[in-house]
Symmetry: C2
Subunit: 152 residues, 2 copies
C-alpha cells in the first residue's frame, strides 16, 4: 500500500468513530516516524478562549494510536491497538489551531514491538506526543503506552 493509501485508510478509521468525527481532525503529515494531526481551535475552544484540555489529550492520544497502527499496517500485521496508560502535562494555553505530533519514545523499540505482535500476538510500545505552540515551546506533552493485540 502506498503512504497516501495508508493515510486515507487511517483517516477513514478516525472518521468512522463518532467522537473523533466531531473533532474535525485532519492528518497533517507522516514521515514514517512521526504522525501529525490537526484540528481547528473553533471546535475545541474552552471557556477561556483557548484549547480545551480534553481535546488536547484526545488529539495526542489519537496521534499515538495512529502512529502505532501505521507501523503495524506497514509490517503487514492485523492488530487492534489500545492505549494502556498516559501521563499528560499541560504547560501553556494554546490560542491557535491544534496540532499534535506523535513519535516513538527515545527508548522505545519499534522493531521489537512488531516482532512481539507477530510472534506472540501481543506487543507494547511507548509513544511521546506534544502539541506545539505557534510562538515556540509546547502547550502539552504526553507519554503513553499502547498495546497491540493481533486479530485472529
Amino acid at each position: 500500500m502506498t503512504d497516501d493509501a495508508l493515510l486515507q485508510q487511517l483517516d477513514a478509521h478516525y472518521q468512522a468513530m463518532p467522537p473523533v468525527a466531531s473533532m474535525h481532525l485532519t492528518i497533517a503529515g507522516y514521515d514514517g516516524a512521526r504522525l501529525r494531526l490537526r484540528a481547528p481551535l473553533a471546535v475545541h475552544v474552552n471557556d477561556k478562549g483557548c484549547a480545551f484540555g480534553g481535546s488536547l489529550v484526545s488529539l495526542m492520544t489519537l496521534a499515538g494510536w495512529g502512529l502505532a497502527s501505521l507501523q503495524l499496517q506497514v509490517a503487514g500485521l492485523d492488530a487492534d491497538v489500545f492505549v494502556a496508560d498516559s501521563q499528560v502535562r499541560y504547560l501553556a494555553p494554546l490560542f491557535a489551531d491544534l496540532e499534535a505530533v506523535a513519535g516513538f519514545a527515545a527508548d522505545a523499540d519499534p522493531a521489537g514491538f512488531l516482532d512481539a505482535v507477530r510472534n506472540r500476538g501481543r506487543g507494547r510500545i511507548e509513544v511521546q506526543a506534544s502539541v506545539p505552540l505557534p510562538e515556540g515551546g509546547v502547550a502539552t506533552v504526553m507519554q503513553a503506552r499502547y498495546v497491540a493485540i493481533a486479530r485472529r
Copy 2:
C-alpha cells in the same frame, strides 16, 4: 446559592464550550465531595464498539474541573480553574454509557486549597476520578492536579 442553582450554573458553563457541548454530558450527582457526570456511549463509541479513550479522559477531566470549581463557588471565590497534569490508566473496555466520578485525592487538602486561593490568589488541588464498569470494577482511573487562579 442553592445546590440546584450551582449545578445549573456549572452545566451552563460546560455547555458553553463547543467541544464539551458535543459530548452530550449531563450532571448526574453532587454530594458536596464527589461530582458525577454522564455521557451516552453512542456519542463516544470507538472502532471497537466501546468508549473512546479520549472521551473517557475528557469526562474525567471535566468532572475534576467541575468539582474544583464548585468548591470555589461555594466558598465565594471567583477563580479560573486549569488542569495542570494528569495520569490515566485504561484498565478495561466500557461497553455502556459513560459515568465519571471525581473526588479529592485521599491526601488532598481542600480547605488549604481554598485558603491559598483566598490569601495568595492561587491554589492547587489533587483529584482522583474514575469511570466505573456496570459489572463492577473500573474502566479507567485518573489522578490529576488542578490549579485555581483568582480573577482580579
